[in-house]
């Protein structure tokens, strides 16, 4: 059973976001609205999960579960918070469970394997040289390892802050903690990342 959002939106008059409106239409049986939500949030959710678990196949499997849970809970959906807060709460919950289910010990193995299947870089004019590719891969590997070394909650907070551009308050709702706790998580996470990645400047 997916988690339900019970957080306060800071006032009863908080306007519904478009996604929440779409979800209410899904609740009424409109399958097309579910398709729109899927279209909009598919990539952010998969990418967030990929950066959390650092395995593309596992990330897609978890993302499927996220959207399946959204669909299953349509009949009991109440827009008590932003739709993305609810969505990323489900995603974070599943990612943390996946990591705690012993899959994280295979993380290093995945990193090694996945490093072979890097996404092709979009270079329009001139292709990167072999040397440039190698430099990029080394750099990328360092970033991945640095993020993977972060404690799970710090990792989730950094990924939501950096890639989803969420505000502290929204991250706090996703992680079910206070805003000051999020600031503390982010401060410590970036401190660790600076120590590991600052030489890349």
């Amino acid at each position: 059973m997916p988690e339900r959002v019970k957080t306060d939106m800071g006032g009863a008059t908080a306007a519904l976001d478009y996604d929440a409106e779409l979800m209410l239409r899904v609740k009424e049986g409109d399958g097309a609205s579910f398709g729109l939500l899927l279209e909009k949030h598919r990539s952010p959710v998969v990418h967030f999960l990929y950066r959390m678990v650092q395995n593309h196949a596992v990330a897609e499997e978890l993302a499927q579960e996220v959207f399946l849970r959204v669909y299953r809970s349509r009949s009991s959906y109440e827009p008590t918070a932003k739709f993305t807060t609810w969505l990323f709460r489900i995603a974070t919950h599943l990612a943390l469970n996946s990591l705690r289910d012993g899959k994280n010990e295979r993380l290093q193995e995945r990193l090694d394997r996945d490093s072979v299947e890097l996404p092709a870089r979009q270079v329009s004019d001139n292709r990167p040289s072999v040397e440039q590719k190698m430099v990029y891969q080394v750099k990328l590997e360092e970033v991945r390892l640095a993020v993977a070394a972060l404690p799970e909650k710090q990792r989730a907070a950094v990924l939501m802050h950096k890639y989803e551009e969420m505000e502290y308050s929204q991250i706090a709702r996703v992680l079910r903690c206070s805003e000051s706790a999020v600031k503390s998580l982010l401060f410590r996470a970036y401190e660790t990342l600076r120590a590991r990645l600052a030489h890349m400047a």
């Binding site: 970033v143 990342l193 600076r194």
Partner: protein
């Protein structure tokens, strides 16, 4: 300006500056401070490096059959009667009540036509209940009757008394 790096709360200013979330006034103030504060300068440089490094981390695109797999899983959760009824749903939604009423009438008519007119219900036999012996009980019963016969023949006293 107090050095923001001295307290965690103020260090948020530096984080916000590096992510360009700071307003123009605070940005200008912080940049003036950084000109004279090497620690803050180093913090900002380090944070920018982290930001750029994270920017370089591209996630692979979602596989093209993601939606198909998801909808297949959703369909697996839908009961089979719902799948069967799916093509009929628009019709049923528009004309559900008349169709349901017609179906009820048909069922009732079928029940009435099936019942034979005037056929009396089968009467339950009201005779005294006699316990029927099962085949495997017959032999012990005959044995018991034979023993009773022998027993009465071997009772001479009884026979004398009865003669008296």
């Amino acid at each position: 300006m107090k050095c923001p790096i001295e307290t965690r709360e103020s260090a948020e200013l530096l984080l916000a500056y590096c992510t360009r979330e700071l307003d123009a006034e605070s940005t200008a103030m912080l940049e003036r401070h950084m000109e004279i504060c090497p620690a803050c300068r180093e913090f900002a440089l380090g944070q920018r490096a982290v930001w750029e490094a994270l920017d370089a981390w591209e996630a692979a695109p979602v596989t093209p059959d993601f939606d198909r797999r998801l909808y297949r899983r959703i369909d697996r959760e839908v009961p089979w009667w719902n799948l069967l009824m799916r093509p009929l749903r628009p019709v049923l939604l528009r004309q559900g009540l008349p169709i349901a009423a017609a179906a009820c009438l048909l069922v009732m008519a079928g029940v009435l036509l099936e019942r034979p007119a005037g056929a009396p219900p089968a009467a339950q036999p009201q005779s005294a209940q006699v316990e029927a012996l099962q085949p495997d009980q017959v032999e012990p019963a005959l044995d018991a009757m034979h023993m009773l016969g022998e027993f009465s023949n071997r009772m001479p006293g009884d026979a004398t008394d009865s003669k008296m």
